[in-house]
Amino acid sequence: MSDVAAEVRDLRMRYGTTDVLNGIDFEIRTGEVVALLGPNGAGKTTTIEILEGFRARSAGQVTVLGTDPGRGGEQWRARLGVVLQSWRDHAKWRVRELLNHLGTYYARYSTAEIPRPWDTAELIDLVGLTAQADRRIGNLSGGQRRRLDVAIGIVGRPELLFLDEPTAGFDPMARREFHELVHRLTDLEQATVLLTTHDLAEAEKLADRVLILAGGRIVADGSPEELALRMSAQAEVRWTLDGHRFVHPTDEATAFTRKLFAQHGPAVEDLEVRRPNLEDTYMALVKEHEQ
């Protein structure tokens, strides 16, 4: 398997007279979880759909698993997983029945390194639907249905998995369950994942690397930690002294705190050190771009 799962060079997309993507470059290395962030209309969905082979691009070079998605055949398709936001399709099918059936499509694309498809019972267990395995899909709850979407997306053991806003509309519980599922997938299977999201905490939690898309360009590319430090290296120290609340931004949080204790000792209470996070960088970059 190649080290690069996907490569994008100078990708451009224009709808009518509107440029949605103005030449973006990035690559996804094998085994990496990459999150594509950006405000609404930044072109996240357009980008992911071009890579999935569902949308024709205006210009630029795109290679996904060694193939141009515009020309990918069924063999190529079998190596990809796409998690779709389902609605009410296959409502009369049962969970096990649908996964069994869709699994058979991948059997002929099985290889020695990657046996396809995933065993149905194992897969149902992985996404936590064992109790619902024989239920009609139309009777599943929203959260269960989305876990089934993930199961369908990975039933062929994809080498590259696409998740387009996978947790939109989730309640906090369902969101956490979903994050755990993605962690299990990436730990167990070393899956390569490209996900788009609005949720910065989600990107921080799941992604090895974050791409920020604004105004049709990639404005930042790096690990969540790198990006967090990039815009504001300053941490914020908060504490209470004699019933008063203090806030102090500093480059040297550890040294500052040491000094604080040396000066006031046990009188310092409710100490909090807040490191700059991805959200700060995101807001700064997007604001900068909008001006």
């Binding site: 999935e52 063999q75 796409v82 609605w87 499509y105």
Partner: protein, 278 residues
């Protein structure tokens, strides 16, 4: 070949759902049963100029109409609904999925049409003394039915790919209702003005009805048809021509429609449908 096998499996599962899910089974049997009841009530009326029951004459015509409705209207419905709810996009995201999907729908529609034929036929043979099945009739029935599927399902696939969503189905339903009126289904076509007879004879519904009548009615009834004959060679030619037309049109239209499917398009439709629902 693999896609064909997967498609047959898919069609089989969907049929199994249909036969084990009461509302769906009822919907499938509804039209044939209503038809039988209406025709049974009509059995006292006679074909003009004969003593033959109008009910017995209409029963085979009704089978022909059922093929056209199931093949075009039915498939159009399946395709537009499946596109809106994302079934089609799922098929597209799966290797060999689109081919298997289409074969699955053809399997399912062929089977339900044939099922409707068998139900109507069995009830017809029991309740309508004028309807009978000879050895020659079975042969005619077989090829008319087969050509009937070929002439209508690709047409349904084409129309279903062209219609933007299920709300546009009346665009297919209304012309089909009009066509039923001028295709000699419920009354002999010879009683219509000449130009309407010509229009009716352009479309497959008239010829499917005629072929079914030829298969199931006594030979002397051909006298009430145009030219006093079942005109079987012409039945074959017209249905074959529609099959060729449909088979040529369906793949490119379907491919074009499938190429445009993506997650954001399904999401867009879902949002619009949700707005309508609330």
């Amino acid at each position: 070949m693999n896609a064909v096998r997967l498609g047959l499996a898919r069609g089989g599962i969907e049929l199994q759902h249909m036969f084990t899910y009461l509302p769906d089974l009822f919907q499938t049997l509804f039209i044939p049963l209503i038809q039988i009841v209406v025709l049974f009530l009509m059995r006292g009326h006679h074909v003009p100029g004969t003593t033959f029951s109008l009910g017995s004459l209409t029963l085979p015509s009704g089978i022909g109409m059922g093929f056209v409705l199931g093949g075009t209207l039915g498939v159009t419905g399946l395709l537009t609904v499946d596109r809106e709810d994302g079934t089609l996009l799922r098929a597209k995201a799966t290797p060999d999925g689109m081919t298997a999907y289409v074969i699955g729908q053809i399997t399912r529609t062929s089977a339900t049409n044939l099922f409707g034929l068998v139900v109507t036929l069995v009830l017809g043979l029991i309740a309508f003394p004028g309807v009978s099945l000879t050895a020659g009739g079975i042969v005619t029935l077989a090829w008319v039915a087969l050509l009937g599927l070929l002439a209508t399902i690709p047409l349904g696939i084409t129309l279903g790919s062209l219609l933007p969503n299920p709300r546009f189905i009346p665009l297919v339903l209304l012309p089909l209702s009009g066509l039923t009126a001028i295709s000699g289904i419920f009354y002999p076509i010879t009683h219509l003005p000449g130009w309407l007879q010509t229009v009716g004879q352009v479309f497959p519904m008239y010829w499917l009805g005629l072929g079914m009548r030829a298969a199931l009615l006594p030979a002397h009834l051909a006298a009430v048809e145009i030219d006093g004959s079942w005109r079987l060679p012409l039945v074959f030619l017209v249905l074959a021509a529609w099959s060729v037309l449909g088979l040529a049109a369906a793949p490119p239209v379907l491919r074009r429609m499938a190429r445009r499917e993506s997650g954001s398009r399904v999401a867009e439709r879902r949002e619009r449908a949700m707005l309508r629902a609330t």
